[in-house]
Symmetry: C2
Subunit: 336 residues, 2 copies
Amino acid sequence: MASKSAPRATYAEIAKTAGVSEATVSRVLNGDENVHPDRTKAVNAAVKKLGYKKHRAASALASGRTGLIAVVIDDDLSIFADPFWATVTSGISRVLMENELQTLLMVTPLESVDGPVAHYLMGGEVDGAIFFQLHKDALIKRLRKQNLPIVITGTPHSRSDFPFVDTDSFGGAHAATKHLFSRGCRQVGIITGDIDTTAGAARLDGYNQAYRESGHVPSKKLIASGDWSMESGRAAMARLLEKAEGIDGVFASNDLMAVGAMAAIEEAGLRVPEDIKIIGFDDSVVAQTARPALTSVRQDIVALGEAAAELMIAQLRGEEVQPRILKSELVIRETT
Amino acid sequence: MASKSAPRATYAEIAKTAGVSEATVSRVLNGDENVHPDRTKAVNAAVKKLGYKKHRAASALASGRTGLIAVVIDDDLSIFADPFWATVTSGISRVLMENELQTLLMVTPLESVDGPVAHYLMGGEVDGAIFFQLHKDALIKRLRKQNLPIVITGTPHSRSDFPFVDTDSFGGAHAATKHLFSRGCRQVGIITGDIDTTAGAARLDGYNQAYRESGHVPSKKLIASGDWSMESGRAAMARLLEKAEGIDGVFASNDLMAVGAMAAIEEAGLRVPEDIKIIGFDDSVVAQTARPALTSVRQDIVALGEAAAELMIAQLRGEEVQPRILKSELVIRETT
DNA sequence: CTGAAAGCGCTTACAG
DNA sequence: CTGAAAGCGCTTACAG
């Protein structure tokens, strides 16, 4: 049932063909500096000759290090539509692999701090865990208390000392809003995402800041709230059209809501970008397929994953780590 | 550096508190039937009391079973835009977890049969591997020769005996084409995907079959080839508009090409669905955000992942497995 | 800089 | 149905 693989080499054989002890083999394979160059060479040669690959389980049992990093993804429905985590994870996986670490993927509901995932993570089965933006910090706090290296993708709520990586939502929203003004808009509205998320709040802040820098104060009427869904964007836009007379630009906090807003604008008999200019956030495939094609704030999602992996590796090395905020970039298409 | 986790319980402690030998503990924990119920009960109680979790590395070293299933994803660019593999993988992960197996994610270029991934998989580091539609079978053949359980997501080229799971592309294309006829279309075209892929070929076959059933033979002029990209769909549609006079329906082999086709139709001054009806395949987010919203063939992608995991588990149990083809479903929206 | 030896926490013939 | 014992393939004080 299990693989009847070719008989694999062990330390014993390497030690014999290199003429050293198994302890020395171990030292060389673990990068111990204090080994005579000649022996190092001999061991490396034997390793190559025998096509040796270290047995992970044996190594893990003896050393306590598993070589496995968990990537924990909250299993709510949004992941089924959203390529975001997949892309981040591919960046994570690549960097981990380069560092001889493997990615253990756990897609699971996180409701319970005492769920199977929690047990697993606390049981020393992995060397570290990377989480996607979570709402409850309880689990993470517990894991940290046990000295399990943690990285969070997305900004955590409680600005505790969790290492995290995120895209600069504030900066992206700020740039988007400024761009609308520079294109001649006078009344720029915003469709917010869920304001209880840090990303939702930061994008609103960026909008407000840019508005103030333009010398005006955004009227409450220009702010409509959505929940990241296309439908909420459509409804929010309909409200803006009704309340905010003269509105001629809209920053939607993600692409899906932007596309919903475009539908509402069209339904009202207005045109994009002639009557109302619009910008989304994420530069997802939806932005590219929209007609007119949607101007959007691009996050470098692969880089986000790579940064997360790098923070993890730094912690594994015992280094102090700082949060990492990645720049976003405005991709200008036809809606502005 | 490694987690300084709470001292975990071991067999020794369980054996002591349950009043049995470690061998018996092992038997109970591995579901051995031949243990006296009383002892079984005692062991289970001790496990619960001590909050015991089996140490995976130790178990793997002793038994040769790692409890890890690799999910291998070819790292070409398409994955960055396509939520498909992410969704499949979430289905896989869920089912594996329920069966006490973990998902080891490997995102990597597969170019070399002798790459690090190959070594890893052949080194007995995992109990099985699930692949996403691959072009070269060499690696997989080698792994099978070593009795490594394999599942392929997507139909393999060489109809060898690899266990695979796939959505019924033929049936979906067939239903889509029939639906266009039933909506009154007379000249139904197809925009194919990459015809060298099994999915691309099967969708074309389904179209041809439905066409013939309608009592006609599809003219060559009604067939335009794309490469799954939006841009290729746009170009293919432009060609159809030029060559296939009177075309009034199009089945595009995926949503992205359908959206491209819609753009081309609009650019030609025609309307969807009044002048030309159109159907996509995948029912992706793009189908939902398109205007008019795109009728599309839905695959149950999560179910695909679950089926893949189930085939893997069956193999692990030593059962014979058959390929699994999942039904697709037409989701009717505004373009037909 | 190096080796002999103990040990990591399970599993599994083997003998009963 | 059960236990004593050997062993899985590494790592790591310890002593030199």
